[in-house]
Symmetry: none
Subunit: 210 residues, 4 copies
DNA sequence: TATGAATGAGGGTTCATTCAT
DNA sequence: AATGAATGAACCCTCATTCAT
């Protein structure tokens, strides 16, 4: 008797999203295996019987939570694509957004990575999200190459994976492992390294924003 | 009545290392939580009871295994430091060694990352290993800066973290997530990106370091 | 707030009998323990809560259903008693009716047997129904004995139990366990065995019916 | 880590058979569904964890118990076939043995009937046992027919099913439903009914086999 | 040393029943 | 009358660990 989001009374919707929220917090704090269904229920303030009204089990909740997080990551990426300006500014904006998306979702993505090691469905979800970021990075580089602003000999996909990985990995070290750094410094350095790595030609008069 | 490596009969040593080996395989394939002590014993061809002759529990075995892996990572790093040649060649050699070290230990390091999220002792071990790599990268960069071969404005530590992360993360994407690439191409590109990112001045005549 | 059959709106009556019908089907297909109240409600097209408007619980529904079935068995028996004719024809008619009553109710009677093993109320109901059949059989035999048509040394009750059991059991083997046989052959053989077993004297000129 | 009968230490064998014995008692008293694994463990005097050392679950225990019971039924039948003497004496001996086999196993056979309704594996086991009895009865009748001692027009299989069913069913009514009767009377009546039903010719001089 | 039987805390899940709407 | 969300007792099962042999 599992109930989906649709066709729920207001009360049901409230309970369901309380469980999703509680689940997200629990997974982030403890990891998939360490989370007990009862923990989630206690956080959400419902009995454990109620849990099974909405989800078939712990894994189903996890799927729901990760999907939501991945959705946020997608959204962050879309917003980022609106950034205008000269190439360097765009790279900087992208890096900043990327770092912030990670700041919000880092733990859950790591949980997903963990889950992906043992379950192909999670693996597929992970690869799907990753692909969006890779493609966006590769497209950006290709455009610069076409405009003669970046080294045309670089393989766009592989380069995007490597430099994107640099940002993603730094976010992890920074946020999860406690490496000290402030956002401004980090974004500036990431941008400098990225720009130079692709051989970005400084547009003759690089008027920096005031 | 746990027995350490020292003071063991030959038979005891054999049993113990069979358990460590079996444990490593099991952890790599299934992850810490999914591994049951029985799995390890079955792999090692030993009865359950025997396990506790050598280890106080599953966690103790994990500690032992991760320590061994970290030791291999250290060793790889040390070997890498012997590489001679011009800066570019040294960076290339380091990247190649790094990728290979990951090829051998990627899964266990990820397990350690996972364990680090919930246990401070594992966290400390992880940070310790990471520090070795970071320091080596930072030292290398500082030397180049002193020789006037790299951009002196770069923060050595932060830059080493970022570029080292690029390599580490690529190894993960390549080996664990199945991104297609051959080692030569990957090493060449990583090296090119790394070198350009730090503003490496192409040394006209490759004077080997003293 | 359980509502009985009397004093119900038309709508209420419809809902109630939908539940009884759904319950009978469910019990026949799955057995008492395997049936969940939700199954019954789903079959009846009613929400869980509504069930308890009409029945105090699963057992109450079961009681209702079995009572109905037992009623049908009684009715079958009554109809059978109207059969006229010579003794052999009456025995044949009774056997045929008995087999047919089982064809319609076999599963539910078995459920009742099952329930009777653990609950004295069901046991009493079962014995009550059985008694009707036994008594009818014993009375029939006694009449034949008084008429000098059957072996007077037979204990009427015990004989009725044994020969009646033969018919009942055959019905079970035939219908529930899938033994191949057609009704005509079965009824003829049961009648022959029964008649001979009680030492039925062939009435010299048996033709009664017009 | 389920352990079969073979390859067990003496202690293991003791524990295992204690569980089987406890299981049999529990199933007989309460029926499959009502039995809790913990009940069985308590009866056997072991912790519930131990149960799973020997059986994969409740159903596996039930399979084991029913197999044992069916084995006893087989054995009873084999012993019965040794009975010598004139036809009437043989029928009487068979009926007595049959009643006694039921006295010992009645409850478990009913459990099996119950289980057979929902599980084809149990159904197959039930049919297999039943077939042995049917075949034995049919063979006996056929031999009498060939010797000119019984009505040759009777279908041996169907007749055996019906008369065998009479005995089986009486056993149930007698033992499970509490119908009052003593064994001697019951066996004598069953034998008389059976013999007359098949038209057994009284052998003038009852020569017992040497 | 090695064995494997025994233990029991701990966790996931089901489902009859209650109750506010 | 009907609904369906919420409850929690009751069960099944796993597995790390202990211990007698």
């Amino acid at each position: 008797m599992i109930v989906k989001s649709e066709a729920l009374t207001a009360r049901g919707k409230r309970t369901r999203s309380a469980l999703v929220q509680a689940g997200r917090e629990a997974f982030e704090e403890q990891g998939f295996d360490a989370v007990r269904v009862d923990d989630v229920c206690a956080r959400a303030g419902v009995s454990h019987g109620t849990f099974y009204t909405y989800f078939s089990g712990k894994e189903a909740l996890f799927t729901e939570v990760t999907s939501a997080v991945m959705g946020e990551m997608f959204a962050a990426n879309v917003v980022g694509s609106l950034a205008p300006g000269d190439p360097r500014a765009r790279i900087e904006a992208a890096n900043r957004l990327y770092l912030r998306a990670w700041a919000a979702n880092s733990r859950m993505v790591r949980m997903l990575e963990q889950a992906a090691a043992g379950d192909d469905r999670f693996r597929a979800l992970l690869l799907e999200v990753r692909e969006v970021f890779v493609r966006r990075g590769a497209d950006g580089l290709r455009r610069l190459q076409e405009q003669g602003l970046a080294d045309p000999s670089l393989d766009p996909r592989l380069t995007a994976i490597m430099l994107g990985g640099m940002v993603e990995h730094f976010a992890h070290v920074w946020l999860d492992l406690g490496e000290q750094a402030d956002e401004e410094t980090a974004v500036a350095l990431l941008t400098k390294l990225w720009a130079r790595a692709i051989g970005l030609t400084p547009t003759s008069i690089t008027e920096v924003a005031p």
